[in-house]
Symmetry: C2
Subunit: 180 residues, 2 copies
């Protein structure tokens, strides 16, 4: 697929509801299980997505659109959510993510971005020059990656329970050495 | 996590809604994209899950519970859905999956399975002896694996659009040689 703003928003607007449908009111074992030390539980994934709404995607889009002298993005803190959400419930994070995402999409839609603006560039601190179009595409892929991660992490909680089925269930052996 | 029937049903009952929230009314590019030849699109994943409801999990559970002379499961046809659903819409498949799953869970709940029945065995044509408990755990993992697969396949449709972001988005390089 080629990048298309409306088709990108299709996914961005579905992510909070998808994760809420999967995770609302689930048992603690499903919500808090991980793939190993320093990996994200489903709870952590929602916290990380909230961080993205507050500090990553739209702040970076605004910086690109401003085309000021400094177009270098702030580095993204992948562990901000750990301290931020220590006393929170999963359900309250799911609601907060949905609210932040809805606000951000309202702003994104209001910009009515033309092709000329999608070509504007910012400077990623690790990756170098990136266009607004690439940033928005990465936002979509990032969402889908975290939906996949949440489902995978949950699946692995039952790895010892499926007996001989392991080789028929490849999700159980994805990311044996977790990359995220 | 140890296997627990109620916690397994928590996931089994969420899967149709999760996939409907993600996929209902999405553009054809998201619904029909694949990871390469002979791999499943999101549309194919829903068809495959429907096949599971009609021919796999509950028929096998019934065979185990019957403890008849033949306890060997019918081989599962991973491509039954291809011909079955050639003229169907994704939305109608999402509705059908939700209906079949709800019926199956009503039956599963009605059995009130005690520990003694969860230990009963059947014969998997490829894997050998398996317990009802392992079958039900595999059903849960299979659901979550297909949620992860759907999200991954969708993410990959934008692989060429994210520019230098690829190494920061591991979902794009998962299953470079598709296993399912």
């Amino acid at each position: 697929m080629e990048f298309n703003l409306a088709q990108s928003i299709e996914i961005l607007e579905r992510t909070p509801g998808t994760l809420r449908t999967l995770l609302k009111d689930v048992s603690t074992g499903w919500a808090q299980g991980t793939e190993g030390p320093d990996t994200f539980s489903p709870f952590d994934n929602i916290g990380h997505l909230i961080d993205g709404e507050e500090t990553d995607w739209m702040p970076r889009a605004r910086m690109i659109l401003a085309q000021g002298q400094n177009r270098r993005f702030e580095p993204y803190d992948r562990f901000r959510h750990k301290a931020r959400n220590a006393s929170r419930t999963l359900d309250s994070l799911l609601e907060e993510f949905a609210r932040l995402r809805a606000e951000n999409l309202q702003t994104l839609r209001s910009w009515n971005l033309p092709e000329s603006q999608l070509k504007l560039r910012g400077e990623h601190p690790g990756l170098g020059p990136v266009t607004l179009r690439q940033l928005l595409a990465a936002w979509v892929v990032h969402d889908l990656g975290h939906i996949a991660q949440v489902a995978r992490v949950m699946a692995k909680q039952y790895r010892a329970e499926v007996g001989p089925w392991v080789p028929y269930l490849p999700v159980l052996t994805d990311h044996e050495v977790p990359r995220s």
